[in-house]
């Protein structure tokens, strides 16, 4: 047996395309369900949340301005990168969740398939959700779904990887940017997923991943005036969910309540808003494009 000292990985946050430690300097120990200590993860603070929202805001307009085709290519690229590292992710899912290795690999493969699935949706959902409306006048009338902007997500607690990917992929597929609080007790696979995204040509700031206590950070994200949507699907505590929803109401956010997700189309529609445009029929060609 080698007496070599193993180099342990430091799990850091993923904010604005970089991997910072928490601004607060804090960290916390992450253990497997049987109590074995696995690693230390950064314990994000209110200010890390603020920085992440600023990074997400900065990235949002350019990301929404990319072609749907390119957004799909990048999501597909993330699936490719994940495929190559499936072994590592399966190990992390198995260790943190106390899952059998075979079952863990199935979770990772399901996550890869979900990424490919939503990569395919990027250039299709506008046709399915939007369209040309019949109107009684000489106008072209279109409705298109547009991204809401910055979405704060509390990722599922007990489904730390597949649930995370399912929360993030539909939001960014439609041109939103996200700030995600990974599962509090099982953040490792989500934090490693940041490395996959960073090497998938995904622009920095489109996905920002924080690890820490939902009860500490989420209230500030919920009340943040520059956050447009709030996904509470990972909030287990009903009172906390209610108070977060109340805080979000102050600043007019779209809120997704805890509970099982709907269909893919529901997930895509969740973080879009409809824009309807009237064009005088004879002017559409002169206008050159949609708007």
């Amino acid at each position: 047996m080698s007496d070599r000292l193993r180099v342990k990985k430091t799990y850091k946050l993923y904010v604005g395309g970089k991997f910072p430690r928490s601004e607060s300097g804090r960290s916390y120990a992450v253990s497997s369900p049987d109590g074995t200590e696995l690693a230390n993860a950064a314990l994000a603070s209110r200010k890390d949340g603020r920085d992440a929202v600023a990074a997400a805001r900065k990235a949002q307009r350019p990301w929404a301005g990319q072609t749907a085709y390119l957004r799909g290519q990048i999501l597909y690229r993330a699936a490719e990168m994940l495929e190559g590292r499936a072994g590592q992710f399966a190990e992390e899912v198995a260790e943190t969740g106390g899952v059998e290795p075979g079952a863990a690999l199935a979770v990772v493969e399901a996550a890869i398939d979900r990424l490919v699935h939503f990569a395919g949706w990027t250039d299709k959902y506008t046709s399915v959700l939007g369209g040309a409306n019949p109107v009684a006048g000489p106008y072209f009338n279109h409705t298109t779904p547009e991204p809401l902007g910055v979405i704060a997500v509390v990722a599922p607690q007990d489904d730390p990887f597949l649930g995370f990917v399912e929360a993030v992929a539909p939001a960014i597929a439609t041109g939103n940017t996200v700030v995600v609080l990974a599962s509090e007790s099982k953040p490792l696979p989500a934090l490693s997923f940041g490395e996959v995204l960073a090497t998938s040509d995904l622009p920095g700031g489109v996905v920002n991943i924080l690890s820490g206590k939902a009860a500490e950070v989420a209230p500030h994200l919920a009340a943040h005036a520059d956050v447009n949507g709030l996904d509470l699907s990972g909030v287990a505590d009903a009172d906390l969910a209610a108070s977060l929803e109340a805080a979000a109401a102050e600043t007019l956010k779209v809120v997704r309540r805890p509970g099982k997700p709907g269909t893919s189309l529901d997930l895509l529609r969740q973080w879009t808003e409809y824009k309807t445009v009237w064009h005088p029929a004879g002017m559409a060609a002169a206008a050159g494009g949609a708007y």
Binding site: R50, V53, H220, A223, D226, T251
Partner: protein, 304 residues
Amino acid sequence: MGSILSGAEAASLVRALPGVDAVGLEARAAGLATRSVKAESKAKAIDLAISMIDLTTLEGADTPGKVRSLASKAMRPDGDAPATAAVCVYPAMVAVAAEALQGSGVKVASVATGFPAGQVPLDIRLADTEAAVRAGADEIDMVISRGAFLAGDLERVFHEIKAVKAASGDARLKVILETGELVTYDDVRRASWLAMYAGADFIKTSTGKVGVNATLPVTLLMLQAVRDFRALTGTQVGVKPAGGIRNTKDAIKYLVCVNEVLGDDWLSNEWFRFGASSLLNDLLMQRQKLKTGHYSGPDYVTVD
């Protein structure tokens, strides 16, 4: 105040200034930048910083409409926030700004003297200044001839500042040193003193048009220069860092430096200004954060 010195006297005084301890200066600036200002003091600092802003637009694409909207924002930035100190525009836009700001107490500042390079003949630079004053400018932001300064012709720079001061009449004169082009701290110190000897009412770091704009160490050095100048001559001169100050944190660092080096005498918009445009929105967002308890965002301030 016009200068009583001759060009040769001023140049020799300036040449005799001691060199700057660059390491010490930067360490001092970095040390002051770590001060944390919280809660009520922060609220006061934010309002003070807003009241010190010369809200600036210096673009080829400036239109009367843009200047008017900037003027409205300067007079009433947001709810009960204080007005800014001035609106700073090109000479061609002074009349528009003066009309929009009439009676509001917000001053009209105009860049002049062939801004930003200053590489035009002196008679044209003086005519530029006179035209701005005639159109209603309360303050003139002139640029020095960096070319002459760097060539060692301090006397020419001195005489030009004196001439522009005379052409400005009652308007207060801010002298832009363009510290990014002077490069060394020694030259910043020399240029500061030269401008003050020639009758500057304010010394200002930068035009905002070159790569390096206001930095904390350079501003600290200029604050020390005005302190020493008052101790020596009894004349108080203001300081205006400009360019690159974009957020509340930076603005508060500058205020800490003013307080530490100069004290209360300079902590008003009579003697300290920020040349800025995007800084105002960040200050307003921080102000909203303190009022509402939650973070604000760019949707809650105007688009400039």
